[in-house]
Symmetry: C2
Subunit: 508 residues, 2 copies
Amino acid sequence: MPNTPDAQAYEEMTRRFATIAHLNGAASLLDWDQMTKLPPGGREARGAQNAALEGVIHERLVDPALADAVERVAATMDPDDEFTHDWVRQAREDIRQATAVPAQLVEALALTTSKANAAWVKAREASDFASFAPVLAEVVELNRERADALGWTEHRYDALHRIYEPGSSTERVRGLFARLQAVLPGLVQEAAEGDASRQDDVVERPIAAAVQERIVRDVTARLGYDYDRGRLDETVHPFAQAIGVGDVRITTRYAEDRWPTAFFGGVHEAGHAMYEQGIPAALYGTPLGRYASLAVHESQSRLWENHVARSQAFWEGYLPHFDAASGGTFAGVDAPQMARAVNRVYPSLIRIEADQVTYPLHVILRFELEVQLIEGSLSVQDLPDAWNDGMQRLLGVTPPSDALGVLQDVHWSIGAIGYFPTYALGSMMAAQLWERMEHDLPDLEDAMRAGRFEPLLGWLQERVHALGRRKLPDDLMTAATGRALDPEPYVRHLTHVAQGDLTRRLTS
Amino acid sequence: MPNTPDAQAYEEMTRRFATIAHLNGAASLLDWDQMTKLPPGGREARGAQNAALEGVIHERLVDPALADAVERVAATMDPDDEFTHDWVRQAREDIRQATAVPAQLVEALALTTSKANAAWVKAREASDFASFAPVLAEVVELNRERADALGWTEHRYDALHRIYEPGSSTERVRGLFARLQAVLPGLVQEAAEGDASRQDDVVERPIAAAVQERIVRDVTARLGYDYDRGRLDETVHPFAQAIGVGDVRITTRYAEDRWPTAFFGGVHEAGHAMYEQGIPAALYGTPLGRYASLAVHESQSRLWENHVARSQAFWEGYLPHFDAASGGTFAGVDAPQMARAVNRVYPSLIRIEADQVTYPLHVILRFELEVQLIEGSLSVQDLPDAWNDGMQRLLGVTPPSDALGVLQDVHWSIGAIGYFPTYALGSMMAAQLWERMEHDLPDLEDAMRAGRFEPLLGWLQERVHALGRRKLPDDLMTAATGRALDPEPYVRHLTHVAQGDLTRRLTS
């Protein structure tokens, strides 16, 4: 006879997690506002508001009454009740992560990263790594302590990486990245040699920011981003932010002489946001009503950005609208030309400006270095040399300054070690999902040409979004595509892009 | 020998109140966002986020450890340490208000006002008071219970009114309003007879919303609203919102064929915001680092709106800028004509559109009716007739429908009974502060003509803003002007306005 979980415990667990979710929603709004609307005078108060709210959330999560309710549910649930099992598993994991790190270490991390971030801003401006090195060394050391508090068996870095990518491991990432590293440098070199054929002024034709904004709104709405449950604002560093059910916002930035920045940036963030908009409202407030991992999140943004909006089929449909909206700026340009122009491949210094073929090489470099920092085989003071050597080895370029090299990313300064690999893992997942989608939806390209994106979004909603955090990323990939994460679809996709083959169906 | 308050208790009291203030700041941001940026799909989640945060704040305020810290400070403080005395008095009052009302009643009020507000929105649309009456009766009954929980001796309404206006009372408001009522109806009638001389199309000359926005930014910045610590957005119902130290925001709305809506509305909200910007950062996070009362708040908005921006001296200085900013729309208009046009006095139906002379009569009507509702001498079902009788008696007009009468204001539907009088009390305080300022700053009018507003703002900062909530409103008025709140300066001011005497110095 199936058991029914203790109703009172279930209600208490649900209510307590819902409150935590609502407080997290409030904290998300504080972050969104800080990046988009906050007047300069309000920064200090915002820091204090964030800290107060994070403190309350942490307190609620480590409240023994919550763990007790979860365990009472666990003790009474039906062995076949998969949903409640998933619920309990994720609840335990949330509580474990919150309780594992001692309050003193949490505080030290907050203080040190706040100091480190300020030091990084200055160091980058002055291209002065030496001034950043001592506090970065402290951040690394505290992250080693944090990893030990969270627990690990194979590799200390595992504990940090899994904060962002549950179920992943250093060895697994190494294996996947080794496959990319075997192929990409050659592809990049080849593409760079044929570079001239894809250099095209269409990406530099000026479009006023206000016009670009209308275009970004238009294209993201066509793809399926729901503006009744979101909004678009301008920021220096674009992002998507889920604030609550029915409230998932995106931002972009406008460069008047380089429209792809806002266009593909907007599509990228809309990809993230459509994922959050697709997580069922019924799961909201539970530990399952969230994205599965950062790589899964990135798979959604990259799929819409790279597989949809940079494809020739997309431009066959969209170019007339784009040309009209920009006042005839692209008269005479055809879809193949546009697809070539927005897929130019060439080695460059800055990760966030990299094309999709060179991009994973930037990520691989950061992964290698941060693993070495955490295992202690690389010291912070040797980081700039290691960076420059790696850039030369992987991309064939050497940064002329640390500002354009080792100081370019914010992540380490805010203590986010273990995060970088998710960017490339996400792109890898995107390619695998795309191949499967092409298999399942035979008229995918025709739909894109006709501007019909509902079948794509519907497929993603059903296979990915609807699950929330019910599955670990690898299980999610297996359920969605029939196999665990596999680098080959990504290698195939990047090979096509590098070779300028932008029409060929990957699976054909 | 002076005592030093228990240092550990003082630290604990300070830390706990600071956390509450930061959480309140987060709650303020949720409100601001809801009125300005929230997508429609996010409304339900926002309600839940607000409730979760309010719950946390309430929990912290009623935590016995907080009251205990306050009492340990109280027991050890020096009798001559006025600052700590003020601190403890206000801390006790905040805790008392939070603990006095039982959780069950708080919940019933939240539920019922949520229902009542929805019913009011529909009832106003349909001008159908009967559909709103039953839930309004529940709101009134719950407010009677709330008054009893908060405690009162003279009049049950006192307890509700003091939520908004500490130290005030029904009898005191009655006395002050009686003086207005003796004078204003006659003044209004007189002005209405001479109406034609002040009807002027200048208030209807069209200005594009984007131009109006630039003008509102310009004029509020000139008056002293600091945009580094604030921002201007658009809303249906304009408001000012303090979110934290260095972050006080204003909103306005634009009517293209009636620029005074945005112009004086913007100045009004900037007046509120300059008050909040003037409260010392050092007080922030303590129970003293807030506005003294709603009437004191309104005194600041009304002073800048009515005494400054509607004066002839102001327009003598500002008109050339205004004309230039609006592209020559006001060529040939002079300052006396402008001052007359923006001070037209005539009886009308809607409070928020009323001129400054008829305005307090709208407030007096609401005060009379809500006092009767709370004491039980008027039933909710008789409210529309009582409203219409009052409008005829006070203003000589009768609403053609309940939508334009008893259903026009949101306040009762959200349970805010006792709030209305603060609007007229604030205008009264503004007139008294203004007379004193004229006395203290002999070149006040010349400064306004020259566009120098620092002396005015400096005076207000010193006499009002710097005090935060250290004094009760009457004590604050006495300290600032040499006497308690007195209706005569307001009567003098309104008499001048009604008689079209817009240049005469009040004290000359």
